[in-house]
């Protein structure tokens, strides 16, 4: 682009390059030349000034071009913009602060108009550079995707724990202690705290699994007891009664499971998916039914 622009300027005589060079050489801000502002030394003659300016600008432009090329290889537009803003902000801030350091330590007199210019430049450049730097360094926090099972479980578990601790139906004393603890003003783990929630949820998952195991064992025992009772008391081949009993058992199981909330369900799902060799209570009742039937046969 720059080459094209310069070429077109030369070709069509849009404006004299000599004039452009002269403007660059004569440019002064607060009595500092462009060469001085870019920390390229203090030129003693015009030739020296021009040479320094030429090589200095070439070096600056070259470095910036390389950086631009590197940025172009970055994966997404967002990252490219961030890196670009960071790359712009650092030299901009360095130039501004460096200029101030030079100005403070130098022995030059400045007029009021020059002070005003300096003020305007600082007011514009400093916040812009700081903003660019902030944008370059800022990383946006990702929101939790609800589709992920494990995170969903963690989220639910932490919510449950923070509301009423429904994951502990068997351990009443523990719940009571927890309640008194909260009454005393002890801090409970907060759901929105990511790390705390994660740790709490992993604990809850484990405990939930243990509870579920116990529930299954209990229900299995119950079913076995009932089946034995039925065998002893009636010892008949009443299929309909057996069906009623098994339905009752399954209803009991369902009513028990309906007591627990979404977290329990989730834990349960999780448990069932993670522990494929274990048997669901409902499935168990169906198995018993089939077993009784075969025995009868």
């Amino acid at each position: 682009m720059v080459l094209f622009l310069l070429g077109s300027i030369l070709e069509f005589h849009t404006f004299s390059l000599e004039y452009f060079t002269e403007s660059l050489v004569n440019f002064r801000f607060m009595d500092y030349t462009l060469v001085e502002m870019l920390w390229l030394g203090k030129p003693e003659s015009l030739v020296d000034h021009l040479t320094t300016l030429k090589y200095g600008l070439l070096a600056y432009l070259g470095a910036f071009s390389i950086i631009l090329m590197v940025i172009s290889f970055l994966p997404s537009l967002g990252i490219q913009l961030k890196v670009l803003s960071f790359v712009i902000s650092i030299p901009a801030l360095a130039l501004l602060l460096g200029f101030w350091v030079r100005f403070i330590n130098d022995d030059n007199l400045v007029s009021r108009s020059e002070k005003t210019d300096l003020f305007i430049v600082t007011i514009l450049a400093y916040p812009s550079s700081v903003f660019l730097l902030w944008y370059g360094l800022h990383v946006k926090r990702k929101k939790l995707p609800l589709g992920d099972d494990s995170q969903y479980v963690a989220f639910q578990a932490s919510r449950v724990h923070s509301t009423n601790n429904l994951n502990y139906p068997l351990d009443k004393s523990g719940g009571k202690e927890e309640q008194t603890g909260s009454e005393k003003g002890e801090t409970l783990p907060l759901a929105d705290d990511e790390s705390t929630a994660e740790s709490v949820s992993s604990e809850l998952i484990e405990e939930g699994a243990e509870n579920m195991k116990q529930e299954v064992a209990n229900s299995q025992e119950l079913v076995n007891d009932r089946v034995e009772n039925i065998k002893i008391e009636e010892s008949g081949d009443n299929e309909s009664e057996i069906e009623e009993i098994s339905d009752k058992i399954s209803n009991d199981d369902a009513s028990k499971t309906s007591e627990s909330d979404g977290a329990n369900r989730a834990n349960h799902d999780n448990f069932s998916t993670n522990h494929g060799d274990e048997v669901h209570p409902h499935q168990e009742s169906q198995n018993i039914k089939a077993e009784v039937k075969s025995n009868d046969d």
């Binding site: 009595d31 602060l97 101030w100 350091v101 100005f103 403070i104 330590n105 022995d107 007199l109 400045v110 007029s111 009021r112 002070k115 360094l137």
Partner: protein, 445 residues
């Protein structure tokens, strides 16, 4: 971490910007670093920071480089140690650019041979000492005074040339007048004439010319140095720009500040440059902090700064004036009493032709000091403070038994123990008392 470093850097630059742009803050920072004028000492904590105020002055044996190198070192030192004056110099620069008809509110008059003296119009009530000296008829009379007297020595071929030069200096004079200086442009091209005018001014208008600062350029700069060599006690400071001749440093000068501004091409005159180096270094030899840092400075003039009087010289003169306004009491010898004794002599000063380097000038300063010591022994230490104290403790037999000298010491010690600038306030209210007290303390009487 990055944020903290960035914040610190920003704070540092903000502080530096305040120091560079805000005059009051720059002066404050200097006084925090160096203490007050009378008891100057480096601040124990601030002195650990790399501030310009704590830069060590170059010494004679320190650098064995060429004269140019030594002068460059001195120039760097001057720029650093006077960095506090940059906001003031900016103000002066701005004032020169914008002031229009600046002398309209000031009174311009001729004091016999001194033509066109401009006074700032400051007045104060006469004190007992003024009456005793004959400067006022009675206590309470209004006396005209100036905080400093800035004399520019030039050479004018004729009247129109003088007027032209005066017009060029108007803005600079106005700036100085606003800061309490009286100003005059003196045309003189020989030492006798110049010495005569200065002696007349010192003898006839001591309240105006108490803090006399003389500026000369070129040939007149050498003339000013010669005049200072002849009678150093007359001057608070001499400011010379591109002197043409080498003048030896006066042996008795214990308090005259010296500033030389030179162009780089003039370094070819090695003898002159060497003499300036010697003047600056000797002028810095002082037991007090401020003169030991600012007493002698050398400066390479900037081509860009083409002002009638360089801003650096103006800032230097103002600092010198502020210092001697407070700290003149530290130099009791050669002050008013000595001046009184010498006034008759000064009326008809006979300067001798200077023949360097074998010139031995008649040492009148020593005579003056001797006469001052005699005066001091016989003085009754009567001053406003003592009189007031006696009035308050009228019925107290203990106080009535004490002599004035003892009372001066007791009261002074009490004020000194209060600290916090009480002594400075007292010095402003009753300078005579302060002078007596410090003199007694100095002499351990």
């Amino acid at each position: 971490m990055c944020g903290t470093i960035f914040g610190l850097l920003t704070l540092l630059i903000l502080e530096g910007a305040c120091f560079r742009l805000v005059e009051n803050y720059a002066s404050k920072r200097l006084s925090w670093s160096w203490g007050n004028y009378s008891q100057g000492s480096f601040h124990p904590i601030l002195s650990k920071l790399p501030l310009d105020h704590f830069i060590a002055p170059p010494k004679a044996g320190q650098s064995e480089g060429s004269i140019l190198e030594q002068y460059t070192q001195e120039n760097t030192y001057s720029a650093k140690v006077m960095s506090f004056s940059l906001p003031l110099r900016d103000r002066y620069f701005e004032y020169l650019c914008n002031a229009a008809d600046p002398l309209r509110k000031y009174h311009i008059r001729d004091l016999q041979s001194l033509r066109g003296v401009i006074t700032p119009g400051l007045k104060r009530a006469a004190m007992l000492e003024d009456v005793r000296k004959g400067q006022a008829k009675r206590k309470g009379d209004l006396l005209e005074y100036a905080e400093g007297f800035f004399m520019v020595v030039t050479h004018a071929e004729n009247n129109s040339d003088y007027e032209k030069q005066f017009a060029k200096l108007e803005n600079s004079f106005a700036f100085l007048l606003e800061n309490g200086f009286a100003c005059v442009l003196v045309s003189s091209n020989n030492l006798e004439d110049l010495m005569g005018k200065i002696s007349f001014l010192k003898a006839s208008y001591p309240l105006l010319a108490e803090n006399l600062i003389v500026y000369g350029k070129g040939e007149q700069a050498s003339l000013v140095m010669e005049a200072c060599f002849a009678r150093p006690s007359f001057y608070r400071a001499i400011l010379v720009e591109n002197p043409t001749r080498a003048v030896p440093f006066p042996a008795e000068s214990e308090r005259t500040w010296f500033l030389a501004i030179q162009n780089a091409p003039l370094f070819e005159k090695v003898s002159t440059t060497k003499a300036c180096l010697k003047w600056a270094r000797k002028a810095r030899q002082s037991e007090f902090l401020y003169p030991s840092r600012l007493g002698g400075l050398l400066r390479i003039s900037k081509e860009a700064e083409s002002l009638p009087i360089p801003s650096f010289a103006i800032a230097y003169a103002l600092k010198c004036k502020s210092y001697f306004q407070v700290a003149s009491m530290l130099y009791p010898s050669g002050k008013n009493s000595a001046l009184d004794a010498s006034q008759e002599v000064l009326g008809n000063v006979k300067t001798k032709t200077l023949d360097y380097p074998n010139f031995i000038f008649e040492n009148e300063a020593v005579k003056i000091e001797k006469s001052f010591s005699k005066d001091f022994q016989t003085t009754n230490f009567e001053c406003e403070m003592v009189t007031e104290y006696r009035k308050i403790h009228n019925g107290d037999p203990k106080v009535s038994k004490l002599s004035n000298r003892e009372l001066v010491l007791i009261i002074g010690d009490t004020f000194a123990s209060m600290g916090g600038g009480v002594l400075e306030e007292i010095a402003q209210k009753d300078p005579v008392f302060m002078r007596y007290y410090l003199s007694l303390r100095e002499l351990n009487l």
